[in-house]
């Protein structure tokens, strides 16, 4: 748990089995009001299955899901918005007709014009659903998810197929929703997206939630060291001499290692390491610094890349 606030949605020991295959295996988490919770994992990790069980689209094999502290009921559908990863829209309808159709399915929807403006759909309104691009379709699907002014919004890989500008625009929408106190649950393959948008990130693999926390906390917990790379043309003994005083009790970390292309050095304190190298007159013109990311956390936890 990363917050002491009362959870809007909580799941306990959630399982989804397909025969002997366990798609989701004992996931528990709690999502407080007003945060953006990111669920990260490679393909097949169980993210979409987990999120679809939370959405009540997929039945659960065992476990419990509570919304506002109680089992989900018909009100749940009125108060959530969902953007699916892959979904088709009714054929032969225009964007405007599609919005009106779904708008009419809610008891107390948001003003349609506001949603159209928020998702920048004004110029697409008369366009046939089949004649819009992948990115435009994602914007329309997002608009459909927001029509009922939901308290809880599920976004399953919402920026897939979007160009960088459209992705940035979606990020702005997510931030605007957060600022209005909405709670979001997001899955993504994009590290920068998760770091930019998510207050809490859960990392899944093989149907299990491996860990969760804020991006900086996860990085600090699993990959606390900055890595320095220097070329092989330098003398290794000079490098070792320059940095040997940094952590005499922890030589396992503060040891220069020869890799295929460069010398490699890990440190928890970048400034201290740089000062030591400069004091040792080490030329730093070819120095490369690698700051750990969520990708490194992911590699550390699963041995796999997030994009696999």
């Amino acid at each position: 748990m990363t917050s002491t606030a009362a959870p809007l949605l909580s799941i306990h020991n959630l399982h989804k089995d397909y025969g002997t295959f366990k798609a989701v295996n004992g996931v528990s988490l709690a999502i407080p009001v007003g945060i953006c919770y990111g669920l990260l994992g490679p393909n097949g990790a169980g993210k979409t299955t987990t999120i679809e069980m939370m959405e009540d689209i997929l039945s659960i094999s065992s476990g419990e899901i509570l919304y506002k502290g109680a089992p989900r009921n018909q009100r749940f559908r009125e108060e959530i918005g969902i953007q699916f990863q892959n979904t088709e829209l009714p054929q032969y309808l225009t964007v405007k007709e599609t919005l009106r159709l779904f708008h009419g399915l809610y008891r107390d929807p948001a003003p349609l014009q506001d949603i159209i403006a928020l998702c920048q759909l004004e110029e697409l309104l008369q366009r046939d659903n089949r004649r819009i691009s992948g990115g435009q379709k994602q914007r329309l699907l997002l608009a459909l998810a927001l029509l009922n002014d939901p308290d809880l919004i599920f976004l399953d890989e919402p920026t897939t197929g979007m160009d960088p500008q459209a992705r940035r625009h979606l990020w702005e929408i997510v931030k605007a929703l957060k600022s209005r106190g909405k709670t979001l649950i997001l899955t993504t393959h994009y590290m920068d997206e998760a770091q930019e948008l998510c207050d809490t990130i859960g990392i899944m693999d093989q149907g299990q939630l491996l860990t969760e926390g804020s991006a900086p906390a996860l990085i600090q917990r699993y990959c606390p060291h900055v890595t320095l790379h220097l070329p092989l043309s330098l003398e290794i003994h000079l490098l070792k001499r320059a940095t040997r005083h940094l952590a005499p009790h922890d030589p396992g970390i503060h040891e220069w290692q020869r890799k295929a292309q460069h010398y490699h050095f890990e440190t928890p304190d970048l400034e201290q390491a740089l000062r030591a190298l400069m004091a040792g007159n080490i030329p730093l013109s070819q120095l490369r610094i690698h700051t750990p990311t969520l990708e490194d956390v992911f590699l550390e936890l699963t041995g796999r890349s997030l994009r696999e």
Binding site: I80, E88, Q91, L105, L144
Partner: protein
Amino acid sequence: MTMLKRMWHLFYARNLEFLRDRDSMVWALVFPFLLLMGLYFVFGQNTTPPAVKIGISGREQATWVERFQKLSQVQVVALSTPKEAQQKLAHHGVDLWLDTDPDPPQYHISETAPKGYLAERLSIYEWERRQQDASQQPALFQRKSLTGEAEVPYLEWFFPGLLSMNLMFSAVFGVGYVIVRYRKNGVLKRLAATPVTAFEFLGAQVASRLFLMAFNTLILMGGGVLLFHFSVRGSGLALAALFTVGSTSLIALGTLVSARTESEELANGLLNLMTFPMMLLSEVWFSLEGASPWVQRLAWWMPLTHLVKGSRAIMNDGAGLQDIQSHLTVLALMTFLFLSVGASLFRWQKR
């Protein structure tokens, strides 16, 4: 109120989809006209197709062709050689072959051909009877024809069955396929993310199809009146009520079949499995009078049977609402059953 609002939006969207799907739309509009044209071509000259075909070969062919052409329900085919004649008979090209070379002439039938016996009765026996009449032997039976209101011309008897069958295909396939397609491409999954219930969704599909079918049936009825001068002898209100309830039950049957089906191929098979027995056993083409009791009991469970019987009672026999109450009740119960089971089995998305 909210339920009706949702159903209205789904109904409206489905109608828009249908109206813009030009291929389906054109077919739905053209099909009744094609059907009428086909009927007019076959029945328009007040002739009916012959019941049997008789092949005649041999030296006396011309004489016998002339004689048999005077018989009703018999089509005569002149055949050049006995070999050709035998082959036609074996392959059911003709129902009876008369060889005029022997004295007396010989006729051949295939014992396994369903129409062989009928051909024998209508041609050989009929000819012999006429010969006996000509020899002034007293008749055993006196012949009387139905006249006036009591007579229902064949085409007028057939037309309600045709209308009902058209309703069945339009209802069952029109809704079943759409739902399976929606499930396959994820539209249903998107709808499942909203507060729409299975009953609301299915109800809207039923209403939308019903609307289209009413339009379609009006074209067929109008064509029937204009081309064949049909009239509805009974209550128009009763007919409208029967077609509405009957169509609803058939659409509901389509929704039941598609409640869980994920592939169009399987849906096609299941829908055919439903419609073919109905087409054969609901008395659209022939009466089940005298058929074994279990066949008649089976037919009773088919919605098309009640639709056909009810519409014939109104259109042919002048029945009113009271007279077809039992058919209406059965169809309404079937609608309730199909929709309830369909809604409870309904699956929004693929497994």
